[in-house]
Symmetry: C2
Subunit: 469 residues, 2 copies
């Protein structure tokens, strides 16, 4: 049946939902949304949400153990079953019923099934043809990339989906990839009792961040007993063993790692194949290229938001893009995405946590900004003396010295995700240091790190931020 809508959104993950919601609520548009899997998307069921649910109990338990007087109240250890039960609650046992009222309240019509573009403004879902008067928004997301390593399929290699929803701790877990998914899952399952090995082809964990990030997270994982193999690749996987199957991963250096489960976390690929892109003259598969209005060049009716456009594979970046795409569709030609991309705020929920925004020092130099980097222990303030004892981690503030603004900030330390918004605002709004100096950090809070930064910057640059002298 042919049905007409103002906008058809393909994919009901966070980016798709936010786009649809904003179009319906702010613009009064008639919106259809198509989902072939769970409404709420990868993030809600198989990524951010279950990851955080697996990580949080150990994080808070670590913290209470560092605080004298409270530590004495802890006599037991993590209750793995309770952690997994809470995780199941967070992901609603993989049932998306709780997500539906949000769509219904906004009058958004849900079509379940696989969508396929069928020429301009036409989306086919099963027997339905959805015709979009204004626009089609692609928000199909991404899935775990599986490298061409022989034996992966036979070994029943897991992606983020299986590991975040696992119902017991693998006795031995082997992880290919030391990026965000790799380190978060290493942390989570090691704390839940698995013996974990991480295999990373490059020389460190979390290579896109400041060099101290990978070192400090690696040190913490080592203390949890996580074996880390750097500079070597997996060349094959095989299954064997008497009794329960055992997975052997052969590395290019000739060594081998044996485990009960194998997680592949080497990157993501866009879910853009087989969705009819070729019917509108685009390549089938690959990231869908967009401009800063999230519009596909040459096709003024087609938008792509979230992972599928490859600008920044982060849920919040997708939600941000979704808002801007919706505003564009509603006629705001000035709405433009500038807060996503490579410098988008990002958090790794390990312990210590990593929170960063903007450029690393290396990237700033690469793009030719004159910078001064101020490094400080994250726990440099009096306030930090209350957040665990000896809680370590480094912070780096990268200053554009010509403009006297921050272009990048990285924090490593317990719970630093809550620090990030301050840095994100300073970077996004290009707040001059002379103004940051009037945002007085309360004593005794860890935010006095900002004061320490300003004082150390003044010392290194030989200036006063209060007078510019």
């Amino acid at each position: 049946m042919e049905r007409e809508f103002d906008v058809v959104v393909v994919g009901a993950g966070p980016a798709g939902e936010i786009s649809a919601g904003r179009l319906a609520t702010r613009g009064g548009k008639r919106v259809a949304i198509v989902e072939r899997d769970l409404v709420g998307g990868e993030c809600s069921f198989y990524a951010c949400m279950p990851s955080k649910a697996l990580l949080r109990p150990a994080e808070v338990l670590n913290e209470v153990r560092r605080v004298p007087g409270a530590a004495q109240a802890v006599t037991g250890s993590l209750d793995v079953e309770a952690v997994l039960a809470r995780r199941d609650e967070v992901i609603h046992d993989l049932d998306d019923a709780s997500q539906l009222p949000w769509l219904e309240d906004r009058g958004i019509e849900l079509f379940r099934g696989s969508a396929r573009l069928d020429g301009e403004r036409r989306v086919v879902v099963g027997a339905d043809v959805l015709v979009a008067r204004d626009a089609v928004v692609l928000a199909t997301g991404s899935t775990a990339a599986m490298p061409p390593i022989p034996g992966l399929a036979e070994a029943g290699a897991w992606s983020n989906r299986e590991i975040t929803t696992a119902h017991e701790s693998p006795r031995r877990l082997v992880i290919l990839g030391g990026g965000v998914v790799g380190v978060e899952m290493a942390q989570a399952w090691a704390s839940l009792g698995s013996k974990v090995t991480v295999i990373e082809a490059l020389d460190s964990l979390l290579v896109n961040e400041e060099p101290f990030v990978g070192e400090e997270v690696g040190r913490a994982l080592l203390e949890l007993g996580v074996d880390q193999r750097f500079g070597t690749k997996a060349v094959s996987a095989s299954v064997g063993g008497e009794g329960p199957p055992e997975i052997t991963v052969e590395l290019e250096d000739g060594s081998a790692v044996v485990g009960d489960r194998l997680l592949v976390a080497v990157g993501r690929r866009p879910l853009s194949g087989g969705i009819g892109l070729e019917s509108v003259g685009l390549p089938d598969g690959g990231f869908v290229e967009v401009d800063d209005g999230l519009q596909v060049p040459g096709l003024p009716w087609l938008y792509a938001v979230g992972d599928v456009n490859g600008r920044s594979l982060l849920t919040h970046a997708g939600k941000y893009q979704a808002r801007i795409a919706a505003d564009r569709i509603l006629g705001s030609s000035s709405a433009r995405a500038v807060g996503d991309g490579r410098g988008s705020p990002r958090v790794v929920f390990t312990d210590p946590e990593v929170a960063a925004v903007g450029m690393t020092l290396a990237v700033a130099r690469e793009v030719g900004v004159q910078v001064l980097a101020v490094d400080l222990p994250t726990g440099t303030s009096s306030g930090a003396s209350f957040v665990g004892r000896g809680a370590a981690g480094t912070s780096r503030f990268v200053v554009d010295t010509a403009r006297q603004v921050l272009v990048g900030v990285t924090f490593v330390g317990p719970g630093v995700n809550e620090f990030l918004q301050a840095a994100s605002i300073a970077v996004a709004a290009e707040v001059p240091l002379s103004k940051l100096a009037h945002a007085v950090a309360p004593f005794p809070t860890r935010s006095e790190l900002w004061l320490a930064f300003l004082e150390e910057y003044e010392r290194q640059a030989g200036v006063s931020v209060h007078s510019g002298s």
Copy 2:
């Protein structure tokens, strides 16, 4: 003996120390600092630091008990002795030896004793006369105000000094005053086993903050068993009882409260009496009036920083003023304090915590700003679902609608002190909402409260922050 210095600083609390340090380090000045009590000041030994040490263990233990999977590991309760031992460690058993190297490293000469101004640029300390070539900085701080209630002295009424350094939990603690000291000490000692009663003359706790602040903190204290009496004053105190002395506080409504210890926390008075202010033509006692350069009008060589000037009785405000006064003395005539005063960032370390910056809605209306207030549950984000279960609290964002900037923000919730810097930067730098919209809060963190604020503001104001339409 007469000794000459560039600058003489009177009082070695945080404000005095920071002033002295900046003058010595940045300006190469020869600096003397005078202290009659402990180097490090009230804050380090008798206020912020020991308070936080008493509060933190219960805070983190409350949090771990709210997290399924971790909660199961907690079988005991707070170890009061360990909490007090840690508090003693934080205040270095009231020994300031550990503070001295900081002064020594900066070549600052310490004079121990009571200082008295003796005419222009002259400070007498015992047998020494310190002559200041450039300036004298007063940083004598404040002390607990004792109201003229009959019997207080006989009842051995405590101030912040005794309660923060107490070596056992009073069985029954009566607190006069429901301000910051009152509620923090009520929270701390109730969690350490005391039966606490708070008596507040006005109608709520923390009256200078948004109305929901006192309500929400009061509710939490009630759950801890803290009895709260509002709208009534203490008219007398007396000591009696068989066995251990018992304090009875009579209230003006005819009722009485009985306790083993009585804390008076009704405000602070400046330590400006008997320090020779009359020798330079100023009144003896009272707050020392200063301009935004922290300079005493008419006496270009005299500065006052910290509590003694009455601008903002907060350690961090004093440290901020200290930096600016130092820059002034070093010749930076443009350095000006704008981040202290009534809207200075502030935190109450209860559970839930209170963190606020800028104007409350009532103050903004009072001063005639056209405002729109957006209220949200602090736990409105997906990220908040991991920070305890059912952790409550309200946040309010006060927007100047003409200029589209935030003029005040208040957060109530667990651990919200770490949220505040973002708001402080937004308020201090007057970051337009259209720029705040590009500071993308990471998913799933509690900072998505910022996104919820923008969306709710857009809804209420009928605009898009991305396009101004």
